[in-house]
Amino acid sequence: MQMNGGQALIRSLELEGVEVIFGLPGGAILPVYDPIIDSPIRHILVRHEQGAGHMAEGYAHATGRPGVAMVTSGPAATNIVTPLCDAYMDSVPIVVITGQVPSTAIGTDAFQECDTVGITRSVTKHNELVTRAADIPLAVREAFHIATTGRPGPVLVDIPKDIVDPKNPASMLEWYWPTDAAVAAGLPGYRPTTKGHPRQIRHAAELICASVRPVIYAGGGILKARAAEALRELAELSGIHVVTTLMARGAFPDDHPLCLGMPGMHGNYAAVTSMQQADLLIALGSRFDDRVTGKVSAFAPDAKIIHVDIDPAELGKVRRPDVPIVGDCRLVIEELVRAVRDLGGAGAQPDRSAWRRTISGWQERYPLAYEISEPGDALKPQFVLEQLRDNTPDDTIVCSGVGQHQMWTSQYWRFNHPYTWVNSGGLGTMGFAVPAAVGAKVGRPDRMVWAVDGDGCFQMTAQELVTASTERIPIKVAILNNAYLGMVRQWQEMFYEERYSEVYLSPDLPDYKMWAEAMGCIGMRVESPEEVLPAIEKANSIDDRPVVIDFRTDSREKVFPMVPPGLSNDDIVTGPAQGEGGR
């Protein structure tokens, strides 16, 4: 069957199971937009290309399926660089299709031309400029294969206009759909290892059964590998506590007795300190990020390390493991469970009662805490989050931007289900929340989706609420409006002698309620504690359009605990609500 390149591209996306494309058309991608009219694929027209990229990410985070964004050449391609980098840092499977100027114009500084493949090379798992119409089906299949296997990540496919333009005879191709064998043959250098080495797994099981102070250090790889069940089995079989990193919140239920919550710079005391004092860290799909380790040379000094990751380059990148295991987290953990059982399972674990007592002592002595506001005082952001948490369904999907509100959400929410927490960890992209929430809601229309955002973040990508209103995507946004770039303010207060440089934003310029209404949303403003619950209940009852609540919160509030930058995790500061210091 003869087909045009643009039709072949859309047909290929259909065969990949794509149900939605987030995008915005333009000159170079026009011929691909024409066949979209005849396709069952839903297209969501964004207001800025960055929004398309983050929506694709939000969709992928919430569903586990690859998100797809499609934009034109030049400025559209550069606008989507940030989401690509974000997805690369957090290993999010997305496929981005960009238009490119016609082949003959490439290299001539043509209108809306940029070197998209060159610019995005270091922020994608892979990218490809397709030069012949006949290569389009293979390029699309390869892109989805690379994005979703091994360590997931973003893949960009750049399509020159001439190979999809029906006016160009060279855009015609004989339709085919590549076989698995053809994809494998086309990628001779790509063979991700998924099965762990049996001897290493046995060795890991032996270390587990010998350790008296073990901690499981679970990272985002657990979620990517759909390994939450396997992780729970391992933790319960061995009775070992689990910390869940920022990218792994929800991978192990917060209400589980073995859950320690989030470690790291703003992790809770028990999670941070148990890792510091462990004799064994079982790192599963985590990468020893600087925000987790603090000063690397002082991180978990007595711990032996078992490190499981599908990316061999993560093993030994920061900390040399005693037992490195390359493989898919789910497959390796299942093997590890078997190996621990072979050694005697629960019965073969040493007496860890002293360790458990130590941990529960830390939990009792240093719980998360903040000072309750006096009547008439500004709202505490933590209070708003507790109310939101306690008055939304248990499986609500929560998205956040980057900064104080992100840390408070991660700390104060109780994530009891995987894939309910969507945020930008590695890149720390302000403005992630609103578009990511739109993508998550499109992927999981059955779930309630709340974006918890900061006022600084909200201003970066709020225009996507117009998209949400137009497309009837009823997300809910809670702005924790403290009128500041709060995290920067916190650092200036603590480390720059309270010299506040360029961090003030104003609480009511813009007027968030009016802005929300102008974008077709329901807008509300909340200034006192007694208004919090009614506003949340009202928002929860609205299901035909987006809702935005402007919560006016205390700008002096800081995120604690905190490990000051450059210091050891032993120097954790628990904050004023706990008295002076942590130790």
């Binding site: 493949v117 060159g118 090379r121 990628l187 250098g189 790509y190 290892t193 061999p312 030994g316």
Partner: protein
Amino acid sequence: MTSPSTSPSSSATTSATNSVKAAGDVRHHTLVVLVENKTGVLARVAGLFARRGYNIFSLAVAPTEDERFSRITIVVDVESSPLEQIVKQLFKLIHVVKISELDPRESVERELVIATVNATPLARGQVIELVQVFEGKILAVGHDVLTVSLDGAPAKVDDFEELLRPFGIVELQRTGRVALAKVTTSATRPLVAQVS
């Protein structure tokens, strides 16, 4: 199209400090990287080194006997970053098919130098003698310059360059190292196998 291609053949020698520095230094390692012969593959490899802060001492690339693949010989300066991390990061590139580190004792390495040196009638005899001792070639003869070439083991090329220097080097170009494992032994350390 948008970036350098490996085809037909390109090569370059770069040096972090100066070109005189001996290429046989212990902190230098030779990696032989088999890549798919695709547009932009050299930019991917070079970009990775730049992005991760690794130093390339020299780099040579050309298609192999199988035109689908090119072989890149990279001499890396590993004082700043461990070789293992470089290899693992390189292997993540989709177009990289195979990576081997060559042990100099169990591989053959060659480099080519072409130099134009001052050779006034008084010195010409000495330059020609030097070229003959090293089994080099004289490529072009001018009134008071000679263009000479030598291919050989990198250390020999270093020595040759050093001895030419007093005559006055007008221009000099080295290719960077190319290398293969010796056929009789299996000198190739299977780094890729360790990785995966």
